[in-house]
C-alpha cells in the first residue's frame, strides 16, 4: 500500500473472536474479523464495503474502542489502541469520532440540538460559553442547519437534517479521524445525494480523514480515495478507487457491482439467484470463504485458503485464479 502519504492509523492483523452460544450447553467461536490489515492516510477516505455480517462495522467498533481486538494492533499516534479499555482511551475519544447509521436512534431525544452539540466541547475543551457557541454556529453553517433550529429537539427534524446534526456532532471537536458507519443507508435516495455532497464538501474544507463503511458500492465512488472490499471478516480486495472501479478483480467485487440497481441495465437474470447468501462466521471453511457463492469455483478453492496477492499498482486481491476469468 502506498508509501507517499502520511499514515494516520494502521490496522495490523486485527482479529475479533466472539464466543457465542450455539446450543443450550455449547459455545463456539465466531470469527468476526480474520487478520484485517489496512492503513488510513491523512486527509484520505478509505471505504469498507461488504454485506451485513462481513465485519465492516466490527472494524469500526474496534478502532473506536467499543470492542477490544482479540489479536493484532491498531496503531494511532504512536501507540497501540486495539486493546485499551474505554477508561484507558481517555482523550483518544476526542480524536476519533463516529457517525452512526440511524439518525433516529443516535441523537438523544430529550436533549436540544444545542446541548447535543455543546456536550463534546464541555467535556474535551476548555472553551468558555461564548467560544462554544461560536464554534457551534460556525459548524451549523457548514452542515446546513439553520441557527434558529438549535433550540429544537431531534424529533422535530427529518432524517436528512438529523444526519446533518450527527455529522456536526462528530466534527465539532475537529477529530483526526471520522468513522462513518452507513451514514446514508437509512435515508431516501434523494436525501442521500444531499448528505453525500455535504460530506464531500466537508472533506475538502477540513481535509478530513475518514473511514466510510457501507454495503452499497455505488456510493463509494463519490467519497473514497481507497476501497477495501470485505467478506466474512477479511479483506478480499483492496485498491485505489480509480483502479477498483476501472477493473474490479475479485469475483465478489464483481458480484457487488453487478447487483447495483441501475436504470440503464435490465434486471439481473436467473444467475442472480445462484449467488446465495453470506454464510455464518461460525465454523468457517478451510478454503476460500467465498467459494460456495463463486461462479468460478474449482476444487482447489475449497482446499486452500487464498492469500492476498499483489497485482501491482497497490491493487490486492484474495483469489489465486485472478486473470483466469
Amino acid at each position: 500500500m502506498s508509501q507517499s502519504e502520511v499514515k494516520l492509523l494502521e490496522v495490523k492483523d486485527v482479529e475479533k473472536i466472539f464466543n457465542v452460544k450455539v446450543g443450550t450447553f455449547e459455545k463456539k467461536d465466531l470469527h468476526a474479523l480474520n487478520k484485517v490489515s489496512f492503513d488510513i492516510f491523512k486527509g484520505k477516505t478509505l471505504s469498507l464495503v461488504g454485506e451485513s455480517g462481513c465485519g465492516k462495522t466490527t472494524v469500526g467498533k474496534v478502532i473506536l474502542g467499543l470492542y477490544q481486538a482479540s489479536n493484532g494492533s491498531v496503531d494511532f499516534q504512536n501507540r497501540d489502541i486495539a486493546q485499551l479499555s474505554p477508561a484507558q482511551r481517555g482523550s483518544l475519544q476526542k480524536d476519533i469520532q463516529m457517525i452512526f447509521q440511524d439518525p433516529y436512534s443516535s441523537l438523544n431525544p430529550r436533549k436540544k440540538i444545542k446541548t447535543i452539540l455543546e456536550q463534546p466541547l464541555k467535556i474535551h475543551t476548555k472553551m468558555n460559553k461564548k467560544e462554544r457557541l461560536e464554534t457551534i454556529l460556525e459548524l451549523c453553517d457548514d452542515v446546513g442547519i439553520d441557527h434558529s433550529y438549535l433550540g429544537r429537539y431531534p424529533h422535530q427534524f427529518s432524517g436528512g437534517q438529523r444526519q446533518r446534526i450527527a455529522i456536526a456532532r462528530a466534527m465539532i471537536l475537529k477529530p483526526e479521524i471520522i468513522l462513518a458507519d452507513e451514514p446514508i443507508s437509512a435515508l431516501d435516495v434523494s436525501i442521500q445525494a444531499q448528505i453525500l455532497n455535504l460530506m464531500m464538501d466537508l472533506k475538502e474544507k477540513y481535509k478530513m480523514t475518514m473511514l466510510f463503511i457501507t454495503h452499497d458500492i455505488s456510493v463509494v465512488k463519490h467519497l473514497s480515495d481507497y476501497v477495501a472490499v470485505m467478506y466474512l471478516g477479511e479483506i478480499v480486495e483492496y485498491a485505489s478507487k480509480k483502479e477498483l472501479f476501472k477493473s474490479p478483480q475479485h469475483p465478489y467485487t464483481k458480484m457487488l457491482f453487478s447487483t447495483v440497481p441501475d436504470i440503464h441495465t435490465p434486471l439481473a437474470t436467473e444467475s442472480v439467484l445462484k449467488t446465495g447468501e453470506i454464510q455464518s462466521p461460525i465454523d468457517l471453511p478451510i478454503g476460500c470463504f467465498f467459494a460456495n457463492r463463486c461462479p468460478y469455483k474449482e476444487d482447489v478453492c475449497e482446499k486452500e485458503h487464498p492469500l492476498l496477492i499483489d497485482l501491482g499498482a497497490n491493487h490486492l486481491a484474495r483469489c489465486p485464479r485472478i486473470g483466469e476469468f
Binding site: 436528512g160 437534517q161 434523494s190 463519490h222 440497481p261 441501475d262 434486471l267 439467484l273
Partner: protein
C-alpha cells in the same frame, strides 16, 4: 376491465394540529399481471396509498373520498369482515421490515399454514403443510422442511423476506402490494428478491404494486410508474417514458441524483431542500420551492395534462 382502479382516492388524518392529507386525490389503474411502481420520498403518501387498498387505515386516519374498484367491487364500501376475507387471499401485502412482519414466538410453518387454513378451512393440515413446502422451495429457501420448524430469529434478513413473500403468495393473490420490500436488505440480496418477485408475478399472473423511494429499483421491475409528491401523483405513465424521458422536474431530479457507476462526475446532483410538511403546504404547486423552473405561474396548483398517455402535473411541461 382493469383489475384495480383507484379513482380520486383521499386518505386524510385528522390530528390535533390539523388535517393531514396523506393521500390527496390520486387515481391510477392496474391491469392483470401488470407491475406498477409508486416512487417518492418519505412522507409522500406511498405507504398510505398501499394501506388504503387493504383498509388498513387506523384512526385518526380515514378514507374520506374516492373509490378503489378491485375486480368490479368497491373496497372502500366494504366492512371490516369482508376485507378480512380479501386480505392475504385476493390481495396480499409485503411489508418493509421482514423482522417485524413475522411473529417472533410462532414458528415459520405455523404462520404459513395459518394463512391457508384461515381462508380455506376445508383444506387438510397435511395438504396445507405440503403447499407451504412447495412455496418455500419456489422462493428459493434451502432446506424448506427444516425451515418450517424454525423461528424468525433463526433466519437471516434475506431468508425472512423470502418467507414473507412466500406467505403473500400462498393463496395465489390477484394483487400483491410490496411496500419497500428490499430497503432493509443488502444490495446483493435485493437483486435476488427483485428477480424473484418479477418471476413469481409473471408465473402466477399476479399484479404487483411496488412502493419504494429508489427509482432505480422501480425502473428494473415495473411496467408503469407513478411518482408521488406530498400526497399527490405528479407524473404517471409507462416506465419507458418516465425513466428515459422524464418531464416533471421532480422526476428528473429523482433520476439525476442516483449515484452512477460509470459516470466520472464527483458531485451528485441534488434536489435542494426537503419535502414540505403536509400541515404547511405552499400555495400552488407543492414542489415549487425546490424547483429550478418555478415562477409566478406556479402559484396555482398545475392542472392535469395528458401527453401521449402520460399524466403530468406541471405548468412548465407543454
Amino acid at each position: 376491465m382493469a383489475l384495480l382502479e383507484v379513482n380520486n382516492l383521499n386518505t386524510h388524518f385528522f390530528t390535533r394540529n390539523g388535517v393531514i392529507k396523506a393521500v390527496d386525490g390520486i387515481s391510477f389503474s392496474l391491469e392483470e399481471g401488470e407491475i406498477l411502481g409508486i416512487v417518492g420520498e418519505s412522507g409522500a403518501g406511498k405507504s398510505i396509498t398501499g394501506f388504503s387498498m387493504l383498509g388498513l387505515i387506523d384512526k385518526p386516519g380515514k378514507i374520506v373520498e374516492g373509490e378503489i374498484i378491485f375486480n368490479g367491487e368497491d373496497l372502500v364500501k366494504k366492512s371490516e369482515e369482508e376485507l378480512q376475507k380479501i386480505r392475504g387471499n385476493e390481495i396480499a401485502m409485503i411489508f418493509q421490515d421482514p423482522q417485524t412482519s413475522l411473529n417472533p414466538v410462532i414458528n415459520i410453518g405455523h404462520q404459513l399454514m395459518e394463512t391457508i387454513l384461515y381462508h380455506n378451512p376445508s383444506v387438510s393440515k397435511k395438504d396445507a403443510y405440503n403447499a407451504c413446502i412447495d412455496i418455500l422451495k419456489l422462493v428459493g429457501l434451502p432446506a424448506a422442511d427444516k425451515r418450517m420448524k424454525s423461528y424468525p430469529h433463526q433466519l437471516s434478513g434475506g431468508m425472512k423476506q423470502r418467507v414473507v413473500i412466500a406467505m403473500a403468495l400462498l393463496n395465489n393473490p390477484k394483487l400483491l402490494i410490496a411496500d419497500e420490500p428490499t430497503t432493509a436488505l443488502d444490495v446483493t440480496i435485493q437483486a435476488q428478491i427483485l428477480y424473484l418477485m418479477k418471476k413469481l408475478s409473471s408465473n402466477f399472473n399476479s399484479s404487483l404494486i411496488l412502493i419504494t423511494h429508489d427509482i432505480a429499483v422501480v425502473s428494473q421491475l415495473c411496467d408503469k410508474i407513478a411518482v408521488m409528491y406530498a400526497g399527490r401523483i405528479v407524473e404517471y405513465g409507462k416506465k419507458e417514458d418516465i425513466i428515459f424521458n422524464p418531464q416533471h422536474p421532480y422526476t428528473k431530479g429523482l433520476i439525476e441524483c442516483l449515484p452512477k457507476l460509470d459516470d466520472d462526475k464527483e458531485r451528485l446532483y441534488q434536489i435542494p431542500g426537503i419535502m414540505p410538511s403536509l400541515l404547511s403546504l405552499p400555495k400552488g404547486c407543492y414542489f415549487k420551492d425546490r424547483c429550478e423552473y418555478a415562477d409566478g405561474e406556479c402559484d396555482v396548483y398545475p392542472p392535469e395534462q395528458e401527453i401521449n398517455g402520460r399524466r403530468i402535473f406541471c405548468h412548465k411541461v407543454k
